[in-house]
C-alpha cells in the first residue's frame, strides 16, 4: 500500500487521501463489502470494531461498535447514500446510542470511497471525508476517534524516545 496523494482543504473542511494497492478492484471492494474485513480495518487494534448490521444497498445501514481498552463501547452507524459496486460507496457516518439507534444530536461525517483500476493491475482508492464544522471535528477527535490516533502516536513516541 502506498499513499499517493493527500489534500486537506481547511476552507471546505474536506480531506482527500488517495492510495494504491496491488490487489484488484474486486478484492479491494471486499474490504467494505465483507463485514468481517471491514471490522479489521475500521478500528485500530486497541479499539476493534464489531459490525452488527451490514447492508450496503442504497439507503441501507451499517451498525457497528468499537470496544476500547477498558471495555467501553462506542456505537456508530453508516447510512448508504450512494453505492455502485465495486467502484463507489458514499456513506453518512454518525454516532449511535448503546442500542445502535442513530444519535442525531451528534454531528455526522460524509465519507466517499472510490475504487478505480490501476493501469497494469491494482487499485487506486480515494477516500474523501467532509466534515460539517470545526467544532464537529474537535468533537469527533475527542470521542473515540482520538483513541486510535493515540495508539498510532504511541508507536511514534517510542521511536522518538530511541
Amino acid at each position: 500500500m502506498t499513499v499517493t496523494h493527500v489534500q486537506r482543504d481547511p476552507a471546505t473542511l474536506t480531506m482527500i487521501v488517495r492510495a494504491e494497492f496491488d490487489a484488484d478492484v474486486a478484492r479491494v471492494w471486499q474490504l467494505w463489502a465483507d463485514p468481517r474485513k471491514l471490522e479489521r480495518w475500521w478500528g485500530p487494534p486497541t479499539y476493534p470494531a464489531t459490525v452488527r448490521q451490514h447492508d450496503l444497498s442504497p439507503g441501507g445501514a451499517v451498525n457497528y461498535f468499537m470496544t476500547g481498552p477498558q471495555g467501553e463501547k462506542h456505537h456508530g452507524w453508516w447510512r448508504v447514500l450512494e453505492v455502485a459496486p465495486p467502484q463507489l460507496l458514499v456513506v453518512e457516518d454518525g454516532f449511535a446510542d448503546e442500542h445502535g439507534a442513530p444519535n442525531m444530536a451528534m454531528p455526522t461525517t460524509r465519507a466517499r470511497f472510490e475504487l478505480t483500476p490501476r493501469d497494469g493491475g491494482g487499485t487506486h482508492v480515494t477516500i474523501t471525508s467532509t466534515f460539517q464544522s470545526i467544532e464537529q471535528m474537535e468533537q469527533l477527535l475527542a470521542m473515540g476517534m482520538e483513541e486510535g490516533l493515540k495508539a498510532a502516536m504511541g508507536q511514534m513516541d517510542a521511536l522518538l524516545a530511541g
Binding site: 499513499v3 486537506r8 473542511l13 480531506m15 492510495a19 480495518w41 485500530p44 490516533l149 502516536m153
Partner: protein
Amino acid sequence: MVVDQLTPDQADRVFHALADRTRRDIVRRVLGGEASVSALGRQYPMSLTAVQKHVAVLELAGLVTKTRRGREQIVRADLDPVRRATALLDQFEALWRARMDRMGDLLAEPEQGATK
C-alpha cells in the same frame, strides 16, 4: 473562513510544525484546554528540553502561545479557524493513513479459497 489569510511562509511553518506527531499531540491537548510545559513534558517519553523545543516550533508557527504564570510556563492554543481546521484535518489524515495501512495488511494476507 479565508484560506489565503496565511502567507506561503506562514503556511510552511504551520505545515512543518504539524508534520510531527508529538507536536500534533501537543496541539490537540491544548485545544482541549491550557497545559503547563512541565505537565506536557510528563506526557511524552522524552526529555523536558525536547518537549520545550517542540513547543517553541509550535509557537513560531503561531499555533500556540506561551505565558509565564509563577514558576510555570502555560501553553495555550492560538488558532484562527484556518489553522484549527488544518490541525484537525491533519489528525484525520493520520487516522486514514492508519486505516489504509490496515487495509494493505489485510490485502496482503493469502486469499481464502471459499468464503463462509
